[in-house]
């Protein structure tokens, strides 16, 4: 599988999977835009529990999503799970904001691969304009899921799996020198895990290892750090 980072949303790069700035991926062959783990309504969940977290992160995430759909002219948007955070945060406002964003890319089909957080939200209203909610999506050569079934280790022989759920991050440190920690894309032979798209989400450290490919995923760029992370790990 040819995975390439790109610094623009142009689709001219010769690749099967393009990693885009803004924590999303694109499958050029089918014009499919992929995002994972938006966790909409997380701030509202906190507020309903008496923890004052301001509004704003969901709105800016939705605006970013809308821009990505337009810039890539995606025919399809596949959300790889955890679109919503929790039942207590799914207020009318949260749903309405998503629905309003959705109407601004009517021509694009939206598919939700249901994540563990979505399952806890008992009812996702039809007014949101999500064409289909599925457990997994099997479209050889790709297989879309929320949770990579058994971590990063077990390869699916027939298909290349793309997932979310892990919220991967990477920390790279030069002994006695600089240190950087960012969200990342992580891939192995037949699996790619996307970084969390939502900005009010935590992360899980990924340890570099042979056979693991890593890209730092920022709003303003994607950079391959596979070799850098390995060198840094060996140097410490």
């Amino acid at each position: 599988m040819r995975i390439r980072p790109t610094d623009s949303t142009s689709q001219n790069v010769d690749a099967d999977i393009l990693l885009l700035p803004g924590r999303a991926a694109l499958l050029p062959a089918t014009a499919t835009l992929l995002v994972a783990d938006l966790h909409l309504g997380k701030a509202a969940t906190f507020r309903s529990a008496g923890i004052p977290v301001p509004e704003g992160s969901a709105q800016s995430d939705l605006a970013r999503l809308e821009r990505l759909v337009h810039d890539t002219s995606a025919r399809r948007l596949v959300i790889l799970g955890d679109l919503f955070h929790a039942k207590s945060g799914c207020t009318e406002t949260v749903f309405a904001e998503f629905a309003a964003t959705r109407t601004r890319f009517k021509a694009t089909e939206v598919i939700l691969v249901v994540g563990n957080h979505d399952r806890a939200v008992s009812r996702i209203p039809s007014s949101l304009g999500i064409e289909s909610s599925v457990k997994t999506l099997h479209e050889p050569p790709f297989h879309f899921v929320h949770e990579p079934s058994t971590g990063l280790s077990e390869p699916d022989r027939t298909c290349f799996t793309i997932s979310g759920h892990l919220h991967p991050t990477i920390a790279i440190r030069v002994p006695g020198g600089d240190r950087i920690a960012e969200r990342c894309f992580v891939a192995e032979e037949s699996l790619l895990v996307l970084p969390a798209f939502g900005s009010f989400t935590g992360g899980q450290r990924v340890e570099p290892a042979d056979g693991l490919r890593l890209w730092i995923a920022r709003d303003d760029g994607v950079v391959d750090v596979t070799r850098l992370a390995l060198l840094a790990m060996r140097a410490t």
Binding site: R47, A49, P52, V53, P54, G177, D178, S199, A235
Partner: protein, 828 residues
């Protein structure tokens, strides 16, 4: 002044006489003051009878009031606040002692405990039937004040006593205590408040914080002028040549330490960190296997049961030696301790006195303390501390002011307990020293924070912790009250993991970051035992005993590293500066004489810093360029100075610098040469634009973001480690980012920056330091090798980084450095 009925005081005189004792005059002074309804602070060295003075005074006051009322009041009469829940049991024991013998005055008195460790059943029992005296912590007192019947619980209270007030004074818990005391005085205007404190340089502040500035003039300050005889000496390594220049363990002195323990009946060995305690406990045990049953380890991460066993052993005189950290700094009498060893520099005069006071803990006995340096230069710190004790000086502890996170927490606490009128609570809060200068804007912000999450214009829909009804503020729901009470009790700290035997039994807790680095089968030292990690399941590290004791790792716990106090720093600089020319009539302390050869190397390769010159050393090593600067202002100020100067250097030219510091100086290093002549240094060290520059460099070092953790917890932005509440788990760092982006005016962010400036960097001390440096001559020296003074800083772990490069450049540079290093090591 109306002294209490003679019967009461006479009863206590008899109580003393029964023991063959005579009350000290300070004890009688306190009794008379309490009887006259006066509040105040009693300060005295440890082990002189402060507890009895306050406790018997309080009992007498209640008895006098009952005599006037002609019938005893039911319910709580005395609240005794102790800073540590671990001390509660000891405190109860000490308070029960005078109640043991039949005495008409103490008839009907009972003592209860309410701390974070009190079980739900015991709490229920307490609520059904309050004792006459309650021992509690600041957190538990706040929880009691949040109960809706708090005005009944405390409605019969006569006296509140805050033990070890100096410990709480300069902390957030001190602010919490100030607010709680003021609340108690609102519920019970006749309340008398006493604080027990060790000696401080600013006892006036201690009084004002305890009773509130407006009442400070009427409060008493009672001093126990009991000369406590202390003998302090230092172990001098021989031969000195083989003693290391840096390091924290100082194992070279093990034979002398073991010999010193051997000579005494009971020794307390104090270390500065838990890792040190583990290593020393292990080494002493290995050196003298026959002491196996009579030595113990005591630090904050060791399981409570194991600690209690060690304390019991001390009390019953069964221990040869206990190795401890600050976990044994406080607390009531442990019984017969003949001597105290201090491993590593004591870092402060008050701390040295406190620890020395642990020995010879009976009236009239001599306290003995031996300093054990861990590296050569610490000998000078030991000498400085010894000299300062002899000169009778001691540090100050500054109480905190305007901590809005504590205020936000308190507002919700009071709302839980039946509500408040905003004006009344503001007036009450302003009676504390901590909020005497609280401005209207900050008050309204804090009220808004509880009511709406933030100012009305910021977006916090569907949020309310407190709601207003008919001019009073109430808690929004019982669920929020419940969560708030849980939040009051949680202690800030890093995620910890329980260590348990595979076959059952707990050993204590370690930082998760340590365990997650270990693999199954890795060996480490913990709670004084060699262990093998069998399995780590995310919550518990399951361990077995390791059969070999070779190559054991020792956990590194965060925090606990005290900076050298200003007083000691300045004493150290004098000793260093005058070491080679002591001047007429001055003698060199033994410790300094021992390190003279090292100081001579320093002056050969570089020079000795002194009061009139600032020494800057430049050294080029294989790994890049290093600058060492020696202001002698203590670790915290050096952190601030290093960040400031790194930022000022990197402002003109994008760079990444790494920063390290110790109590004597700091180091900046980078790949590129940092060229700076004296004129540039003057500019780098200028006090002009200090605040602006520091705020700017705070952002580039992420320090405010890191510091936000504690604020977020106190203000209720992050919940404690309640695993059930997964959906509202977020790191303080993440919340900081969301606030910074979507509610930049949030005052808790401003507080985080202010606290880093004031506490982390000790802003005032930093500004004073820069102003002092402006008057000094700057000497820049190129050193051929790393100098003896620079070496300990160089050997420190890198403490932070500062960068003004963009992220892509950083990644490119990191890659280049690592590729180069890989090529070099590949060739070697």
């Amino acid at each position: 002044m109306m002294p209490g009925p003679a019967g009461t005081t006479d009863a206590f005189r008899r109580w003393f006489a029964d023991r063959g004792w005579e009350p000290f005059s300070f004890q009688e002074q306190v009794w008379r003051a309490v009887a006259a309804n006066a509040s105040g602070v009693l300060h005295a060295p440890t082990g002189t009878g402060k507890t009895l003075a306050a406790w018997l005074g309080a009992i007498a006051r209640s008895a006098d009031l009952d005599a006037v009322n002609e019938k005893p009041l039911a319910g709580l009469r005395v609240v005794w606040v102790t800073p540590l829940k671990a001390l509660a049991a000891d405190t109860v024991r000490a308070l029960e002692e005078p109640l043991a013998k039949p005495n008409p005055v103490v008839r009907g008195w009972s003592i209860g405990v309410r701390t974070g460790d009190t079980s739900v059943a015991d709490r229920r029992r307490l609520r059904a039937n309050w004792p006459t005296a309650l021992v509690t912590t600041p957190e538990s007192l706040s929880i009691l004040l949040s109960l809706d019947d708090s005005h009944e619980i405390f409605g019969s209270l006569d006296t509140v006593i805050v033990d070890e007030w100096h410990e709480l004074l300069s902390t957030k818990r001190g602010v919490q205590t100030e607010l709680a005391l003021e609340r108690l005085r609102s519920l019970r205007p006749s309340l008398v408040t006493w604080g027990l404190s060790a000696t401080l340089a600013n006892l006036d502040d201690a009084v004002a914080a305890l009773v509130g500035p407006t009442r400070a003039a009427d409060a008493r300050l009672v001093s126990a002028l009991i000369p406590r005889r202390l003998e302090i000496e230092t172990l001098i390594p021989e031969p000195m040549e083989r003693f290391p220049w840096a390091g924290h363990m100082g194992m070279r002195l093990l034979p002398q330490v073991v010999a010193a323990i051997d000579r005494a009946s009971t020794t307390l060995v104090f270390t500065n960190t838990r890792s040190q305690a583990e290593r020393w406990y292990d080494a002493i045990g290995a050196a003298r296997p026959e002491w196996k049953k009579t030595i113990a380890l005591h630090h904050g991460s060791v399981d409570r049961e194991l600690r209690t066993k060690a304390e019991e052993g001390l009390r019953r005189g069964k221990m040869k030696c206990v190795v401890a950290t600050s976990s044994l700094d406080l607390g009531v009498d442990f019984g017969p301790i003949e001597q105290v060893l201090q491993i590593g520099s004591p870092k402060g005069i008050a701390r040295l006195l406190q620890r020395a006071g642990r020995s010879g803990h009976a009236p009239g006995a001599v306290g003995r303390l031996i300093c054990v340096p861990t590296h050569a230069l610490e000998l000078i710190e030991c000498a400085a501390a010894r000299g300062s004790v002899a000169a009778g000086v001691v540090e100050a502890r500054r109480p905190l002011v305007n901590a809005l996170d504590c205020l936000a927490q308190h507002i919700v606490t009071v709302a839980c307990s039946g509500g408040f009128r905003a004006d009344d609570l503001l007036a009450e809060v302003r009676r504390t020293r901590a909020f005497a200068d609280l401005d209207d804007a900050s008050w309204h912000w804090a009220l808004d924070f509880a009511a709406r999450g933030g100012p009305a214009l910021a977006a916090y829909p569907n949020y309310a912790k407190i709601v207003e009804r008919f001019g009073r503020w109430y808690i929004a729901s019982p669920a929020i009250a419940r969560r708030h009470r849980m939040g009051i009790g949680t202690i800030a700290g890093d995620a910890t993991v329980e260590v348990k035997w595979l076959r059952g039994g707990r050993l204590g807790t370690v930082e998760e970051s340590f365990v997650s680095r270990l693999n199954e089968g890795d060996r480490f030292l913990f709670a004084g035992r060699p262990l093998v990690l069998f399995r780590f399941d995310g919550l518990t590290a399951w361990v077995k005993r390791s059969r070999t004791t070779a190559a054991l790792q020792v956990p590194r716990w965060n925090g606990g590293r005290m900076p050298l106090s200003t007083l000691l720093s300045s004493a150290v600089l004098d000793l260093v500066g005058n070491a080679t020319q002591p001047g007429a009539g001055r003698t060199i302390p033994r410790e300094v004489a021992a390190v003279l050869p090292l100081l001579e190397i320093q002056s050969r390769w570089s020079r000795l810093p002194n009061r009139n010159t600032l020494l800057v050393e430049r050294w080029e090593g294989r790994d890049g360029h290093h600058l060492f600067v020696f202001p002698f202002e203590g670790r915290l100020v050096h952190e601030g100075l290093a960040s400031l100067i790194a930022w000022r250097i990197a402002r003109s030219k994008p760079a990444t610098l790494t920063l390290a510091c110790n109590d004597w100086g700091f180091e900046l290093s980078g790949r590129d040469a940092i060229i700076a002549d004296e004129r540039t240094w003057r500019r780098l060290l200028s006090p002009a634009d200090l605040l602006e520059d520091l705020l700017a460099c705070l952002n580039s070092t992420e320090m405010a973001r890191r510091h936000f953790r504690e604020i977020a917890r106190v203000a209720g932005l992050v919940s404690g480690a309640q695993k059930s509440d997964r959906q509202t788990q977020a790191s303080a760092g993440l919340i900081f980012d969301v606030l910074a982006e979507h509610d930049a005016g949030n005052m808790l962010l401003a507080q985080a920056r202010r606290e880093v400036l004031e506490q982390q960097f000790e802003f005032c001390r930093l500004r004073d330091a820069l102003e002092a440096l402006a008057a000094k001559e700057i000497r820049i020296v190129e050193t051929p090798r790393i100098s003896p003074l620079a070496f300990p800083i160089w050997a420190e772990f890198v403490q932070s980084r500062l960068t003004t490069k963009d992220w892509l450049t950083r990644i490119t540079d990191m890659a280049r450095e690592l590729e180069q290093a890989a090529t070099v090591s590949g060739r070697a």
